[in-house]
């Protein structure tokens, strides 16, 4: 893990709110090996998407990045000036946006939306070379070259998401952050889009961070899975290990709440609600919903500890497995 392509250390993001500071991302650390696929899962509002934007340094007021470090190929991003950071977006770290239904400019043709990305990153090509490059990109993601002349409203949801992937890979980024890329799509299209994403990712050798809440999809796609709860990473483990021996009670609850074809009947959920980020419980933020919670959990915030294998978990009660 020494030559990590992306290294996030103690990243913290908060939002100013009239009722108090909202800590949306609270001391998240992880690293990403070249070509690795990391999943980040958690309930809505746990800070997944905020973290994706924080890595790109795109948090808008009233939000702010309070601290922490993000390194891409060893280069610290927090000290870059705005222009250098702009050039790094897409070229170094590309975003495949959440809800691609609205992620394309409705009044511009798809081709033009790829063109301006290339142009603003200093790629100057002749008309024909440009058209060829755009056609190539579209075909790479499984779209006809003719889609370049279409407007977003003329495409289906899956096609729009593919177009977004085409834009994301147009400068061959080192890291792709896919923020719930398929949450608005039906399962058939979802699968096609994920396969496309997996294929272009392999071809580019880019590392991927897949943000989402669909544990089933995650399990199929990623190598390693991180579980977030209330702005913190509570467990990170290789996906097989996590599914078979989850260490954190929250992870266990997430996994057992997946519907299964074998055991039909009522769906099992997690009791209680996700806590308000501006009013977190003391100690372990999960303790009010945790059946195992003891005195220590109410007082002391657990840190991530090695749990055997490549797993880490932040729970006082979890025991390392050899």
């Amino acid at each position: 893990m020494s030559e990590a392509v992306l290294e996030v250390r103690d990243l913290r993001v908060s939002f100013a709110h009239p009722l108090g500071l909202v800590r949306a991302v609270d001391g998240v650390s992880f690293s990403l090996a070249p070509g690795e696929r990391l999943g980040l899962a958690g309930e809505s509002g746990c800070g997944k998407s905020t973290m994706a934007l924080a890595i790109l340094r795109m948090i808008r007021p009233p939000g702010r990045i309070d601290g922490g470090s993000v390194r891409l190929d060893g280069v610290e991003l927090s000290v870059l000036n705005e222009e250098a950071m702009r050039r790094l977006r897409l070229a170094g770290i590309a975003l495949v946006p959440q809800g691609s239904m609205n992620s394309l400019n409705p009044v511009m043709r798809i081709g033009a939306q790829i063109e301006d990305a290339l142009a603003d990153h200093g790629v100057s090509l002749s008309r024909t070379a440009l058209a060829e490059r755009i056609a190539d990109l579209l075909e790479t993601v499984g779209l006809r070259a003719g889609v370049a002349a279409s407007y977003p409203h003329q495409l289906s949801g899956g096609m729009k998401q593919r177009a977004c992937i085409a834009i994301a890979i147009c400068l061959r980024p080192r890291v792709i952050i896919a923020d719930e890329p398929t949450s608005a799509l039906d399962v058939v299209v979802q699968r096609q889009v994920m396969e496309t994403l997996a294929r272009v990712q392999r071809d580019l050798g880019a590392a991927v961070i897949l943000v989402g809440h669909d544990m089933g999809l995650m399990a199929q796609f990623v190598d390693r899975l991180g579980i977030m709860y209330a702005g913190r990473l509570v467990e990170v483990a290789p996906v097989g290990q996590m599914v078979t021996v989850p260490r954190h009670p929250y992870t266990r609850a997430l996994i057992s709440s997946l519907p299964s074809l074998e055991h039909r009947g009522g769906l099992q959920g997690i009791p209680g609600l996700a806590p308000l980020l501006r009013d977190l419980p003391s100690g372990c933020a999960f303790h009010p919903r945790c059946s195992l919670a003891g005195e220590r959990c109410r007082i002391e915030t657990p840190a991530l500890r090695p749990m055997g294998g490549n797993a880490v978990a932040a729970c006082h009660l979890a025991e390392p497995v050899a």
Partner: protein, 334 residues
């Protein structure tokens, strides 16, 4: 497909004009006033004439204007005339025709209002867009409160203040009229600069007052647009701030503004009555004011009809142009 769309829209345009013309014909009839008699009585009062032969004169004029025929026959010939852009004689300025009077006033109004409307739209929209833009220079924030304050002042009142300060106290600019009394109208440099000098104050009163409105509307649209997913993605694409601003934010936020602009341009023909009256500007607004004062029904009808036709035409052109501005609006539907 596009031809069908255009034809349909044109049909709607004709329908609007017809409805307007019909209302325009019947509404004054409902008032129960007899314009010819009123006019002659006025003349008589001014001239001190004895009212001998008055009834005969009324009859004679009614016959000449076709006012003695049954209502439906009048309506029929009115529609025929309007269809031929014949708006009848002006009663107050007889024997001049309404068409002549409007044609004389029109260039003044269009020149003043088209320029001011377009200028205030351009300046106001750009200001509004920049005000919503977080990277805009900080001093811009101080610009807005005064503009909003100005926006709250009716522009004829602001016009009076301008006249008082610049024309009366400082004597920098002419106070009244479209051009100096002695000037001979023509395409000479002297005349043009004379007209320009006369237009500055009325133009300024309209521009300064309306910029705030455009800016306010645009700022609101910009704030909404900047929250859209495509703007976030545009930023994630690492586009230059200028590209994100113009091609993603402004380009989308300006769409409702264009509708408002076209409607404002359509309304130009009604003139800015109060501004024109205050500045003695020889435009349509002043003409309408005069027509109402004199109870010149034909002139009022003619002006109102022209205004409605212009508004209908503007809406028609907007309908035709809108699919070009916003590809989501297609020619196929409706």
């Amino acid at each position: 497909m596009q031809a069908v769309y255009v034809i349909k829209r044109f049909g709607v345009f004709l329908l609007i004009v017809w409805v307007a013309a019909t209302l325009n014909f019947f509404l004054p009839k409902l008032s129960g006033q007899d314009p010819v008699r009123t006019k002659l009585l006025q003349e008589a009062a001014i001239g001190g004439n004895v009212q001998v032969g008055m009834e005969q004169m009324v009859k004679e004029y009614d016959k000449r204007f076709g006012l003695d025929r049954p209502l439906l026959a009048q309506y029929g010939s009115y529609l025929y005339d309007v269809g031929h852009f014949d708006l009848n004689y002006s009663i107050s300025s007889y024997p001049r025709t309404v068409k002549e009077l409007i044609a004389e006033a029109l260039p003044w109004t269009v020149g003043l209002l088209a320029t001011t409307t377009l200028l205030s739209f351009a300046i106001g929209t750009l200001l509004g867009a920049l005000l919503a833009w977080p990277r805009a220079p900080a001093w811009m924030r101080y610009l807005m409160p005064p503009l909003w304050a100005l926006h709250a002042i009716p522009f004829f009142l602001f016009g009076l203040i301008l006249v008082y300060v610049f024309a009366f106290k400082l004597q920098l600019l002419p106070m009244f009229g479209g051009y100096s009394p002695g000037a001979s109208p023509g395409l000479t440099w002297d005349f043009i600069s004379d007209v320009a000098a006369h237009s500055i104050l009325p133009a300024l009163s309209i521009i300064l007052v309306s910029i705030g409105g455009w800016a306010l509307a645009m700022r609101g649209m910009m704030v909404t647009t900047m929250g859209e997913d495509y703007v976030v993605f545009a930023e994630a694409k690492g586009l230059r701030a200028g590209t994100v601003f113009m091609r993603y934010c402004v380009r989308n936020a300006i769409l409702p503004q264009t509708t408002a602009l076209v409607l404002a341009l359509g309304q130009i023909l009604s003139g800015a009555v109060l501004v024109e009256v205050i500045f003695g500007f020889p435009g349509i607004g002043a003409l309408l004011f005069h027509a109402i004062q004199e109870n010149d029904q034909f002139l009022i009808q003619g002006i109102v009809f022209t205004v409605i036709a212009a508004l209908g035409l503007a809406t028609f052109l907007l309908d035709i142009a809108y699919p070009l501005l916003d590809p989501r609006i297609s020619y196929r539907r409706t």
